[in-house]
């Protein structure tokens, strides 16, 4: 009988989900309990935004999840629309959807590195990086920056879309779809991958919801739960798309759900692109001082439901901004639920981390 001992895992570890640590309690090779050690990425966004003014606070609003910044950008812009009580033009609404969906795809493609890396496969990761690169190039073409775009602002979007926007965007969706299909075949069709992920990290959707998780973790567990459907924001009620769900709720199902989601996102983009035309108004001017009140937005980011709560007491700066982190329950309650109900060895742990796909800076902020 092997004794029980404690091991520190991460933050400098290729299998750790970002710059974040764990204190693992082991019995032999089995992991019994994992205690999260966060704080390596804490910058204090909620305090820093209070020091900024309304017109430049959005530069900070999306920086704490670098893999999926646009969902957060859209959420903050929406919340400030509510504070200023302005209605952005239709074109901006549709463009924000395109932006958020491309960001979701880019985030899922980044996750392929993680997932493929932890199961020992390199080829799908290389192909996925090509898909992500094409999307980032599109972002640089439209917004002027690859990763942090600064494009969805209170009152609409920041500039006119470039010439030939519709054609190039539609073309890109087909190009990305081709690559993603290859990646899916290479990753999900691989026998090694199936062996490593089937039956590992099982959690049912309704259990995950009770533990605070949202997003692909819940949908992989067989529950149709998506903020884009239950409380549509922007113009998600005007486009048609499906919510892909898994059956068992293991790591394989979560991977499957993410790939299916990419196809649905591409479908949304193809519909939304038709509504973004050059020459239409794209932005409403917002004043420099805000009226007192409350702004609240909920969006479906790549990792789950994400909310922003802005409190304004008038004046030039936000009084208080509070972000909800979709990743926090994944690495605390959900992870410990899996460890309690399953025999997880240390070799399976990176696979489970990757399949939950947490965003470490989002926990610390």
């Amino acid at each position: 009988m092997a004794g029980s001992y404690t091991v520190y895992f991460g933050p400098q570890h290729p299998g750790a989900p970002g710059n974040i640590g764990f204190k693992l309690e082991l019995e032999g090779e089995r992991v019994v309990k994992a205690e999260l050690i966060p704080g390596f990425l804490h910058r204090g966004f909620e305090k820093m935004i209070e020091n900024r003014k309304w017109e430049n606070s959005y530069v900070l609003s999306y920086r704490f999840c670098v893999e999926d910044p646009d969902s957060l950008e859209v959420a903050y812009a929406e919340a400030l629309d509510k504070v200023f009580r302005v209605e952005p033009p239709e074109k901006a609404r549709y463009f924000r959807m395109i932006q958020a969906e491309f960001s979701r795809i880019a985030s899922h493609m980044f996750w392929v590195h993680f997932m493929a890396g932890s199961t020992g496969l390199r080829t799908p990761a290389y192909w996925a990086s090509a898909a992500r690169e094409e999307i980032l190039k599109w972002f640089a073409w439209v917004t002027g920056h690859r990763v942090y775009h600064n494009f969805s602002v209170p009152g609409g979007i920041r500039g006119e879309v470039p010439e030939g926007f519709g054609e190039r965007t539609t073309q890109l969706t087909y190009l990305v779809e081709d690559i993603v299909k290859d990646v899916e075949k290479a990753l999900l069709g691989n026998r090694v991958f199936k062996r490593r992920t089937r039956g590992v990290g099982v959690i049912k959707g309704d259990v995950a919801l009770k533990l605070g998780a949202t997003g692909p973790v819940v949908r992989g567990g067989g529950l149709k739960y998506d903020t884009r459907k239950i409380a549509p924001y922007e113009r998600y009620d005007k486009v048609s798309f499906e919510i892909p769900v898994g059956e068992v709720g293991d790591s394989y199902d979560r991977a499957l759900v993410r790939f299916r989601e990419v196809y649905e996102s591409l479908k949304i983009i193809r519909q939304a692109v038709l509504e973004v035309r050059r020459g239409e108004p794209y932005r409403v001017k917002v004043p420099l001082t805000a009226p007192p009140g409350r702004g609240y937005a909920r969006v479906e980011a790549a990792r789950g439901e994400y909310t922003v709560h802005v409190v304004s007491t008038g004046g030039r700066s936000p009084y208080r901004v509070r972000f909800k982190s979709p990743s926090l329950p994944l690495l605390t309650t959900v992870l410990n639920y899996i460890l309690e109900n399953e025999e997880v060895t240390i070799a399976d742990l990176p696979v489970i981390f990757a399949s939950l796909d947490p965003c470490a800076p989002d926990i610390d902020r």
């Binding site: 430049n56 073409w141 002027g144 942090y148 600064n150 500039g159 075949k185 691989n190």
Partner: protein, 149 residues
């Protein structure tokens, strides 16, 4: 299933390489609206310090410059710390006199072994090649639309 991956890999091997060979020559990541280092038009700047006020990173400080600038009696111009800037373009957007631009100069051209070189004085900022300009104020400034529509 693995076979199809292998076939695909061989297909890729026969195609043109995806890797950019020499980024210094091919400039693979530059686009027409890339937000890079700034250009200052010293004949337009009036020293109103709007850019300083709006900068989220505190990268812009107003400093005095020798010389004769009739539109700017106090001779105060922005000094931009490119090692603090986040390249959000707010200074360009809020400049009321159209004096600031952004160019396609990014870290590739700004790379340095001594970080003192990235603190750009107004004179240095005004000597940037204007053909590199990518972001102008017209691209970012708000077109007047009535709230509600």
């Amino acid at each position: 299933m693995v076979l199809s991956t292998i076939v695909k890999s061989i297909e890729y091997m026969l195609k043109r390489p995806y890797t950019r060979l020499v980024p210094a020559k091919s400039r693979p990541f530059k686009t027409e609206r890339l937000r890079g280092a700034h250009l200052l038009d010293m004949s337009k700047c009036t020293g109103c310090s709007m850019c300083q006020l709006v900068c989220p990173a505190n990268a812009i400080d107003m400093v005095e410059v020798e010389g004769n600038y009739p539109q700017n009696p106090r001779r105060r111009f922005p000094r931009i710390d490119l090692h603090k800037c986040t390249y959000c373009g707010l200074c360009v957007e809020y400049c009321p006199f159209n004096a600031l631009y952004m160019t396609s100069i990014t870290g590739f051209e700004l790379y340095t072994r001594d970080k003192k070189t990235t603190l750009k004085t107004p004179l240095e900022l005004s000597k940037v090649d204007p053909s590199l300009i990518t972001v102008r104020r017209e691209m970012l400034a708000v077109k007047e639309v009535k709230p509600g529509g």
